[in-house]
């Protein structure tokens, strides 16, 4: 239960953050960068898209699916092992994507985006949870 609670909390944080970035993009407004001033450099770079879709949209879908799986595992609906396996695949995939994007910020863009780093930290916490606990056991 604790592992799923942490997963759900992290996914909710991610949902909140990506919802903010999506709202700002739809309104054609610049997001506020709470720490540093390079958010816009990163968010408007060509690396903020994958297959033509902005990363915040992909992130929103990722966090929504992980939070939904956490909810279904807690409530006890659906194939438990399959959902946990799917969540692990998604989280590890997102972790590698986050590592790549951190590298891009560090070495290529030479600019750091608060929201992107926060999202990476969120995903790394999720990865450490699924690595250190069995999320199929309540």
């Amino acid at each position: 239960m604790t592992a799923l609670a942490i997963l759900f909390t992290m996914a909710s944080l991610g949902l909140s953050e990506t919802a903010y970035l999506i709202r700002k993009r739809k309104a054609s407004e610049l997001p506020v960068c709470p720490i540093g001033e390079d958010c816009v450099v990163v968010l408007n770079s060509r690396y903020n898209k994958f297959l033509g879709v902005h990363n915040e949209y992909l992130g929103f879908v990722f966090y929504a699916v992980v939070s939904l799986i956490a909810v279904l595992l807690v409530v006890g609906v659906g194939p438990r092992d399959l959902m946990a396996y799917f969540a692990k695949i998604m989280i590890f995939g997102a972790s590698f994507a986050s590592l790549f994007l951190l590298y891009i910020q560090w070495r290529v863009l030479k600019a750091w985006c608060f929201w992107c780093v926060m999202s990476a930290v969120t995903i790394f916490v999720m990865a450490s949870v699924v690595l250190t606990s069995n999320i199929t056991i309540l």
């Binding site: 909390t9 909710s12 903010y20 709202r23 506020v32 006890g76």
Partner: protein, 122 residues
């Protein structure tokens, strides 16, 4: 209210409402123990169904707070709901924390009162 403080409060409150909603869905019958007998007597439905309705309400409010959409109404109804919870379940060692949640929800609603939107946008 400070801009960042508001959003920290909003997201924290959202996760609390969402998770409580999920936990009620997990075992609604266990949560009926919080309903006082005099309230159970005047319910127009079974306590289990009332708890499932509460879970749906909590999840909707939590989601609206999380994505910062209709936030005034979400925090207003969150405060109303928490006041109702304190009324129907009384204040004991567990529900006493709802006083803090009620204060947080009220603070957000007051901060977003339709005439006072200047401190909201991040």
């Amino acid at each position: 209210m400070n801009n960042y403080a508001f959003h920290v409060l909003r997201v924290g409150m959202a996760i609390t409402f969402l998770w409580v909603g999920v936990l009620i869905f997990q075992s609604p019958e266990a949560w009926t123990g919080f309903i006082k007998p005099w309230v159970a007597d005047i319910l127009i439905t079974t306590p289990e169904k009332a708890m499932i309705g509460t879970a749906i309400f909590d999840i909707i409010v939590g989601f609206l707070l999380l994505i910062d959409f209709w936030t005034f109404w979400a925090s207003f109804f969150a405060a109303l709901h928490l006041a109702l919870v304190l009324l129907v379940s009384g204040i004991d060692a567990i529900t006493v924390r709802d006083i803090g949640l009620l204060a947080g929800a009220l603070a957000m609603a007051v901060n977003l009162w339709p005439e006072n939107k200047n401190t909201r946008s991040l």
